[in-house]
Amino acid sequence: MENRPLEYDYSVAKMFMFTTIILGIVGMLIGVILAFQLAFPGVNLILGESLAEYTNFSRLRPLHTDAVIFGFTLSGIFATWYYVGQRVLKVSMAESKFLMALGKIHFWLYLVVVAVVVVSLLAGVTSSKEYAEFEWPIDIAVVVVWVTFGMSIFGLIGIRREKSLYISIWYYIATFLGIAMLYLFNNMAIPTMLGTSAAGESGIGAWYHSVSMYAGTNDALVQWWYGHNAVAFGFTVPIVAMIYYFLPKESGQAIYSYKLSLLSFWGLMFVYLWAGGHHLLYSTVPDWMQTMGSIFSIILILPSWGSAINMLLTMKGEWQQVAASPLIKFMVLGSTFYMFSTLEGPIQAIKSVNAIAHFTDWIVGHVHDGVLGWVGFMIMAALYHMAPRVFKREIYSKSLMAAQFWIQTLGVVLYFTSMWIAGITQGMMWRAHDEFGNLAYSFIDTVTVLHPYYTIRGVGGLLYLVGFLMFAYNIYKTMSARPVEERELQNSSPMGA
């Protein structure tokens, strides 16, 4: 033991890389099925009439969102944390048996919770709140997993060699704290087994059922304060953490401006939480909260673009790398999509635009250009960068990676353009009046008109899934590719033909 030089220990990162890929496939596959169900309703019966209850759009939809958010993305966050955390703090997990054990417990607990979630959502056990569908027993398990994650973060920080925390670490800490606060408050509920009847009976009905602590408008307010910021602390903050490490490292360029990163971090922390109200424009929540949500959504452009521009300028004078390396392509297009969706979001949050956009597919399009273009690309890029270092082998195929990049880019473009058109078409048709002031279209007219766009969207999603399968295959083959020397791993990742 003493003779061998100390090395970073990636065993936990490796485990989470595995779930990132598996749950990514699951989540995206379900997404593609859902997309085709909307275009061709017959797909609701893909497994026959007897299983219709479980293959139905409405039963699968929460499974899709949760598999992508809490499966794919969260696994990706954990995987990169167990990789980046050690490196920028300059301390190996092998140095602490406690942290090593904690990391493994973290993984296995997480896996158990994922399994329980899948079963419960298929069975229709849900609280109906978006991205917080789990009933209270699962919520408690989620909290335990999260606390383990937190202990692992602060444990590693506690034994660090580098006095300062690198930018990525700020964002990981914010992810941990943000999700913890939001999740706890939004899921406050009272288990119905506590109800006692006049006859003295208690523990009646399903033991896992609960009722929200908040009613109606308040519930909506808390839910969208959560829903919006779950996006913030699940899809933005931790992904920014990744790019602040992986882009400079892969390109060998120091971050364009460390000061700018300081500014955008604190700006983002302060501003993001206010913007949740934009999900509730023209609803029954107080007007001033709606206005506040609108205004802060616009202000949010500044810190978001602060990070994104910082990323793009990091490549200053080194743009030939973008042409040369598909890995850099993923990250640069990822930050471009980040700029794009952080501009699109605020536009949709303007009240008059929201009047048309809300409840339509434009919102679905917005979510997906963010998640497919930014989150998905960045996590895949991170895993591509990690793979050679974790497995000590070169990436199996560069040309496969390049092909994947273009296929997926095409998929994303098809996805969001079709959803823009679909959303705006539907929004305009809902509000169209004829010359006598009567509604011009019945609701079904506004559904049938979307058929071509739903089909295009399905194709776009399918392309992205195909690309993801290529990614999975590439990583799988990397495990048996040509072994590499330590010095090849300094910056740009070694790749086979």
């Binding site: 939809r61 109906s128 700020w170 506590l194």
Partner: protein, 230 residues
């Protein structure tokens, strides 16, 4: 900030937490009490309606249907009066939804009948040609969970003082009483009574037989709930 926090993880975490908690404190906490007051004419859900609401949630109807009429002419023309905060006072959880793949259901009870729902849930495209909604035939076979609905009634009556067995003011000046059973068997009897009224307007012989036997299929509960949305 000033790179001191960035070297002191504990204070850094505190700093981040305060910064992100700030918005919640100002935005979320105020106005809580005021908004949950029911408007006149809003009554709590009966046992069967609540069981139906659970069927609605179980099948994520809210993934495609909103329950929120915005104050625009195009929406009030299509769906009825725009939503008022107090109308949601007994909605735990709220079911506003975020996507209208299908139409809003906030006041669907005003313009759709039991008969319509029955045909529609069995085969949506036969009622609305071109519909992309899937059929929900299993709801005709599965039984609704009356016990859990009853447990929820007890819980909200106990913890949130929802007025069951008490007069609730109605819009026409009268008052209505929503009954809650004193025991599980009592609650089931109440729900069955309501279910019989719904089943009387239905055509499906299996559902009618089931209700006659004292069972309550999910579809009956769901229709009772949808009819209550006004």
């Amino acid at each position: 900030m000033f790179h001191w926090l960035e070297k002191h993880p504990f204070f850094f975490a505190v700093g981040v937490f305060v910064t992100i908690a700030f918005a919640g404190l100002i935005e979320i906490l105020p106005n809580f009490a005021q908004q949950s007051r029911p408007v006149i004419g809003t009554a709590p859900y009966s046992t069967l309606e609540l069981a139906g609401r659970h069927v609605y949630i179980k099948n994520s109807c809210n993934a495609c249907h909103s329950q929120l009429v915005r104050p625009f002419k195009s929406e009030t023309d299509r769906y009825g009066h725009y939503s008022l905060s107090g109308e949601y006072a007994y909605d735990r959880p709220f079911l506003w939804g975020s996507k209208r793949t299908g139409p809003d259901l906030m006041r669907v009870g005003n313009y759709r009948t039991t008969d319509w729902h029955e045909n529609h849930m069995k085969d949506p495209a036969s009622v609305v040609p071109g519909s992309i909604m899937p059929a929900y035939r299993w709801m005709f076979a599965n039984s609704a969970d009356i016990e859990t609905a009853f447990a929820e009634q007890l819980t909200i009556a106990q913890f949130f003082s929802v007025p069951y067995n008490q007069p609730v003011p109605m819009r026409d000046g009268s008052s209505a009483v929503v009954k809650m059973g004193g025991s599980v068997s009592d609650a089931k009897a109440l729900a069955l009574e309501e279910a019989k009224a719904v089943a009387a307007d239905m055509k499906d012989q299996d559902v009618k037989d089931a209700v006659a036997r004292g069972e309550i299929p999910e579809i009956v509960a769901l229709i009772a709930y949808l009819n209550s949305l006004k």
